[in-house]
């Protein structure tokens, strides 16, 4: 077990290096990626630009630049090219909003995804299953930026209701109730896509599992239907959902709720990433990339551990 964890951690470090390096290369190669002319401004002379290049070490070989960037990022000294603000501090500031959004949305989508999948599998072929299938497909097909704007328009801006606050993040420490109310719409908007998707996946898993021989064995033992459904069907059907949830949740925590954060003006990590990409601002992009990669890698290890716990067949012996 210990060997497994150590192996995964070493792998994680390699992944971090690879991802950051590739991101860096893409940035360097992108047309217009050179930050010096942009920092220097419209009326800059060649000398101004050259000074900036010197200051930012842009004339060094690219591997030295990469190394310098990573060193200052991990020592917490990296600053943005455009705003001159400390990258690590900015990410830290965004974390409460991002975590609040993701944890709440995660709970909602996991709970309702399982509920929806279970109901449509149990009533497979009946009217309720068909209705759920259509709703799930609509949920999956609606882009977050569109749904977010529609929801804001309908419930927050007075067409026809205005009982919800329109965006912004209120820290939980400041006012828990306002925190909750402000996040309700973003939570649901982010969760809807996942609910539809998880519901479909779980429905398929349950319908596969229900025809397994061991489910017939469980029935033949005389177990009550509910016990068969929960202990033998659902327990086995949920194993793939765990993987899915772990990776989706990590991605969302890592800032891939960019659209939701932007639409609802939640100043989280995703919002920060969106700003940085808009400005072609390398240091924050690198910072956010490392931050996101960290969560993906961490959760894929967690998923493996949970998976081994849930399915004895793949436990390392």
């Amino acid at each position: 077990m210990l060997a497994f964890i150590i192996r995964r951690l070493l792998g994680a470090i390699l992944v971090l290096i690879a991802v950051s390096f590739i991101t860096y290369l893409i940035f360097v190669k992108i047309p217009g990626g050179d930050p010096a002319p942009r920092i220097a401004g419209r009326t800059a002379t060649q000398q101004n630009i050259e000074d900036i290049r010197q200051k930012l070490h842009l004339n060094d070989p690219f591997y030295e630049q990469y190394w310098g960037l990573m060193k200052s990022l991990f020592s917490g000294e990296l600053v943005s090219y455009s705003s001159q603000l400390n990258v690590v501090d900015q990410i830290k500031q965004g974390i409460p909003a991002t975590f609040s959004l993701c944890i709440g949305a995660g709970i909602i989508w996991l709970f309702f995804g399982i509920l929806v999948g279970l109901i449509s599998a149990v009533t497979a072929g009946q009217a309720s299953d068909r209705v759920i299938t259509v709703l799930a497909l609509i949920g999956i097909s609606m882009p977050v930026f569109w749904l977010g704007l529609i929801v804001r328009y309908l419930f927050a801006q007075g067409h026809p209701f205005a009982f919800m606050p329109d965006g912004e993040y209120v820290p939980i420490t400041q006012n828990p109730w306002q925190w909750f109310v402000h996040l309700l719409m973003p939570w649901w908007v982010l969760a809807v896509l996942f609910i539809g998707f998880y519901g479909r996946v779980l429905r398929g898993n349950i319908l596969d599992t229900i025809n397994e021989d061991y489910v017939r064995t469980a029935k033949a033992k005389g177990l009550p239907q509910k016990r068969v459904l929960v202990k033998h069907v659902l327990r086995n059907s949920l194993i793939p959902i765990v993987t899915l949830f772990g990776l989706d949740f990590a991605a969302v925590l890592g800032g891939s709720a960019i659209l939701t954060e932007t639409v609802f003006n939640l100043k989280g990590v995703g919002w920060y990433a969106a700003q940085a990409v808009g400005d072609l601002d390398l240091p924050p992009i690198m910072g956010v990339t490392i931050y996101a990669t960290f969560f993906i890698v961490l959760f894929s290890v967690v998923v493996d551990l949970v998976y081994a716990y849930l399915d004895p067949r793949i436990r390392p012996t």
């Binding site: 021989d213 017939r216 005389g222 239907q225 004895p312």
Partner: protein, 341 residues
């Protein structure tokens, strides 16, 4: 006379499918007394598994129709509600399935799966159930049962899993044990052990056994009586010795002929019954075996009843051929000479 446990009367099971109505079981009757072993033999699709699953109500579905009666100690299983059925399943009648690789839930320990039935049916607490599970595993011949009880199914070999299935089926001391092709998925060397085990435990637990198989060789050892099924109906029924010494139905001859024999002259190849079983949706007119039967004649366009035609009164069959004719044609078929000629 021994206690009558199961009585099946003219059972019909039909499944409504998109292609039409599948007559999986079409008028099957038999009885089973305590301490006896009944063999049900037939090819895939002959309705033997559906018959046995219907005894436990496992074929119930909105697309399934039942006719006739399945009496367990005089109570009709077909008319029981779900909770009455749950009382019977695993507790009074239990079942062993064909493939032990897939019939155990991979995420629970073998012990937990055995305990489950005990806890549900006898409301026994965990410790009592666990002790029983260990005892059961010992009885079915699992070495180191005390530690093996906590193993997962994937840590067991195929034969051990089938033993564990048997232990699970016997957990609540049922009156009737239904074994649906219990040896089909196992090595030949393990097959005999499992059959012997079932035979021995039947006496220890004072139960009756229904043994379903497509292999007459498997039932020969332990069955008291054999039913041969074809296309959802019983085509021959006799005491085991009688069936082996004086089989009446050409289909039975075919089954007997397809057992590999070492005591005969070397055969060119193993004999098989020509053709495939009929569609259960559009059955042939008359005798259902007629299209595959090398001895079919005009009369076979009319379906023969399952009646006694030989000296032995309990031997029933469905074949129009006269008894002397059958006895003459039979030897040839079983030896595979008809197929060769």
């Amino acid at each position: 006379m021994a206690e009558r446990l199961v009585e099946v009367k003219d059972l019909k099971v039909q499944f409504a499918t998109e292609d039409g109505i599948v007559k999986a079981v079409d008028g099957v009757s038999f009885e089973l007394d305590r301490g006896r072993v009944l063999g049900i033999v037939g090819e895939s699709g002959s309705g033997k598994s559906v018959t046995s699953m219907t005894l436990l109500g496992l074929t119930r579905d909105k697309n399934t129709r039942f006719e006739g009666e399945v009496l367990y100690k005089g109570r009709n299983v077909l008319e029981m509600n779900e909770s009455e059925l749950q009382e019977v399943r695993g507790n009074e009648m239990s079942m062993i399935f064909q493939d032990p690789m897939t019939s155990l839930n991979p995420v629970y320990t073998v012990g937990a799966q055995i305990c489950e039935a005990i806890q549900v049916h006898e409301r026994a607490d965990k410790r009592v159930a666990r002790r029983r599970a260990v005892d059961l595993l010992k009885q079915v011949g699992i070495p180191n049962a005390e530690s093996r009880v906590d193993n997962y199914p994937h840590e067991f070999s195929g034969g051990m899993r089938q033993r564990a299935m048997i232990a699970m089926a016997l957990a609540c001391n049922p009156d009737v044990l239904i074994a649906d092709e219990p040896t089909t998925a196992l090595d030949v060397t393990i097959q005999a052990q499992i059959i012997e085990l079932i035979d021995r435990l039947k006496d220890e637990f004072n139960s009756a056994v229904i043994l379903i198989t497509h292999d007459l060789g498997v039932v020969a050892e332990i069955a008291d009586e054999i039913i041969v099924m074809y296309a959802g109906r019983v085509v021959e029924r006799a005491a085991t010795r009688q069936l082996f010494y004086d089989p009446q139905m050409p289909y039975t001859w075919g089954l007997l002929g397809s057992i590999p024999r070492l005591d005969r002259e070397k055969q060119e190849r193993l004999h098989s019954i020509e053709g495939t079983p009929p569609s259960l949706i559009r059955m042939p007119v008359g005798c259902k075996f007629r299209p595959r039967c090398p001895f079919a004649f005009d009369k076979c366009m009319e379906e023969p009843d399952l009646v006694n035609r030989v000296e032995e009164p309990k031997h029933l069959d469905r074949c129009w051929l006269s008894v002397p004719e059958k006895r003459k044609l039979r030897e040839a078929t079983i030896q595979g000479e008809v197929a060769a000629a």
